[in-house]
């Protein structure tokens, strides 16, 4: 066991954990906005896949990962618009429409991939940007400050979102709409508009989450490449108590333990691989079970709002 607690291993865990956490952060912070406004969007996974494909395809055709990122964001917003139309305007049952959105994104991204490309190819995505001085910090510098721009963006997104949600008028409106839409409506807040905005923002971030895989971290597209990450992101929102920093804590815990369990296997520690693979999930469940103070979710979560009801 001692060989696991050496410097190269800890540095390696730090590096891999941060990369692994990146797509979860984008998707889960985006979903936090949607849920804080009262919309449960279970379609994150489908939006991620569409974002991953469109980001990859545009990035490949134009040779510019930046344009790819833009495409993924736009496609994410469009998927968000679809979800908000269904859940806010049409007031459909959110859980089911989210699952529908997932299947739609899964099917459409696979179909587009087959018709436009037909085979797996890799591209040059965003390059790692080494931040001078900070990356020279002994031991941890390289792990923390030698990543591609989307990794930094994901982590900067967390304090930014916390600030927007807690310190701005917009954040107040979002929280009010998610907590008590009737009251917010009475005070002149346009409930539908706020929800549209949040779900589209969540969609945009989910699209970017997918693109972070296809044009920054892995640099290829494969059908269903998100492999359930979108659903884990939804779980992370609950785990983090609907707070961006809580979400980040969950994403990092899950990712670090995942990076750690791979090191256990690489170092040949005598534990069955199945047990190592279970570790991140078991630890996440334990952390959830033993977390002392559980935050309450938005009171109006997953309830469509209609004026004049109640």
């Amino acid at each position: 066991m001692a060989e696991l607690f050496t410097l190269p291993v800890l540095v390696g865990i730090l590096y891999s954990g941060i990369r692994l956490a990146t797509p979860y952060l984008f998707a889960a912070v985006g979903e936090t906005f949607a849920q804080r406004s009262g919309v449960l969007n279970l379609g994150v996974e489908g939006i991620m896949l569409m974002g991953a494909f469109s980001g990859f395809y545009v990035g490949m055709k134009t040779g510019s990962p930046l344009l790819g990122l833009l495409a993924a964001a736009v496609v994410g917003i469009l998927m968000g618009l679809l979800m908000s139309f269904i859940s806010v305007t049409m007031q459909a049952e959110q859980g089911i429409s989210g699952i529908g959105l997932h299947l739609f994104g899964l099917g459409l991204s696979s179909l587009l991939f087959k018709t436009t490309m037909g085979g797996v190819e890799s591209i040059e995505g965003f390059k790692a940007v080494r931040i001078p001085l900070l990356a020279d910090i002994p031991y941890v510098g390289e792990s923390l400050f030698n990543h591609n721009v989307l990794v930094y963006a994901a982590f900067l997104l967390v304090p930014l979102s916390a600030w927007v949600l807690n310190k701005t008028t917009l954040g107040l409106k979002i929280r009010a709409v998610g907590q008590n839409p009737q009251a917010a409506d009475t005070l002149g807040v346009n409930v539908a508009r706020v929800r549209y905005f949040c779900v589209c923002l969540g969609g945009m971030l989910a699209g970017i989450a997918g693109a972070s895989l296809s044009i920054a971290l892995i640099n290829l597209f494969q059908e269903n490449m998100t492999n359930g990450m979108g659903f884990i992101a939804v779980a992370l929102v609950y785990f983090g108590g609907w707070r961006p920093f809580g979400v980040m804590g969950g994403a990092l815990l899950f990712s670090f333990v995942n990076a750690f369990q791979l090191w256990i296997q690489v170092k040949g520690i005598n534990i069955p691989s199945d047990f190592a693979i279970m570790m991140p999930y078991v630890l996440t469940i334990l952390a959830l079970a033993f977390a002392t103070k559980r935050a309450q979710g938005p009171a109006a979560l997953s309830k469509p709002y209609e004026r004049g009801e109640n």
């Binding site: 087959k114 895989l213 971290l217 494969q222 492999n227 199945d274 279970m278």
Partner: protein, 332 residues
């Protein structure tokens, strides 16, 4: 109108099937088009297991004379067994001559479905169990002796490694992946007994992200030669390319993904097996045979990347390993 009509047709077919099931001998004339259906866990473009079989089918189709001689229907991304088993049953009831269940997880379903369709031949892989012990006669089984190519590629990896550290990453510690990974390990240690081989499993056939992280971890631990199995290795190949490590592929030729990093791949060529199964079915033998892909029968091929120079003595060692496997002096 249409649905009523189709319901009547279904009813007639059901009754006909019942009657045919009781009748001692089928009287219908076999159609000239040989209809093959395949159900697979990943996509036909997975650069691995499913693609190898699908391309094999297409090759046989071209040899037989195109779509007028052989029809191929496929259902991909059927990782979940209930979906797959519904698709298998569906193809069988639509009158396909040969229904291939291309995934070891489909075995139990196939065992239940096959007896219901005695006029359909089924194939199941990777496995060597044709369920003859259970009295089933219309199931073929096939398996790739993945450890053979693993051994040969392991030999090459050991001889080309500068650090003497080699990383392997697979999906689950079972089946085809296990055979390959253990064979590769044996090959490495036979060529270089003091080499260090580390093995990781991600627990998933499709988690591209975790597979990439596994490759990252192996490289951070000093590995300069990597290999792995399943369709999710595409992520790991990208990491190898970016970090200057080399990769060995299996199931399908993975060179195109990273021409600077992939040294060689073990390629599954299923065409021989497919042709033999079709010939058997046409001759009225609907199952009971277990097939293997080996170097000896040409089912396994090592595809070297022409863009990477492999020292002559390394290639000679690989050829010697193949020869030794073929004459039985080495059992990987």
């Amino acid at each position: 109108m249409k649905s009523k009509f189709s319901r009547i047709v279904v009813l007639i077919v059901l009754v006909a099937m019942l009657v045919a099931g009781c009748a001692p001998k089928a009287t219908e004339v076999p159609s000239t088009v040989f209809k093959v259906a395949i159900v697979m866990p990943s996509s036909i473009t997975d650069m691995a297991f499913s693609q190898s079989m699908f391309e094999g089918l297409k090759k046989v189709q071209a040899e037989m004379g195109g779509e007028s001689a052989m029809e191929i229907a496929y259902s991909e991304n059927m990782f979940k067994v209930p979906d797959a088993s519904a698709a298998i049953r569906d193809y069988a009831s639509k009158g396909y001559n040969l229904v291939i269940a291309h995934g070891s997880q489909y075995g139990t379903s196939l065992q239940q479905i096959a007896p219901d369709f005695p006029k359909t031949a089924f194939a199941w892989g990777t496995s060597l169990d044709t369920f003859q012990a259970e009295g089933i006669t219309n199931v073929f089984a096939y398996q790739a002796e993945a450890q053979e190519g693993g051994y040969v590629l392991g030999t090459v990896a050991a001889l080309m490694s500068k650090s003497g550290v080699i990383g392997e990453t697979g999906p689950v510690d079972a089946g085809d992946a296990k055979l390959y990974i253990e064979g590769f390990q044996k090959g490495v240690l036979a060529a270089k007994p003091d080499a260090q081989v580390s093995v990781t499993y991600t627990g998933s056939f499709s988690d591209v992200s975790l597979m990439a992280t596994a490759a990252e971890t192996h490289i951070a631990a000093g590995a300069d030669m990597l290999t792995g199995s399943s369709q999710s290795v595409v992520g790991a190949i990208g990491v190898a390319k970016d970090k200057g490590a080399f990769w060995f592929g299996t199931q399908w030729d993975q060179t195109s993904l990273a021409p600077t990093a992939v040294i060689a791949s073990q390629v599954y060529d299923w065409t021989g097996i497919i042709k033999d199964m079709i010939a058997s079915v046409k001759a009225g033998v609907m199952g009971g045979k277990g097939y293997t892909l080996t170097f000896k029968n040409g089912g396994l091929v090592i595809a070297y990347n022409p863009a990477i120079t492999i020292p002559a003595e390394v290639k000679a060692a690989a050829d010697a390993a193949i020869a030794a496997i073929n004459d039985g002096t080495v059992v990987p």
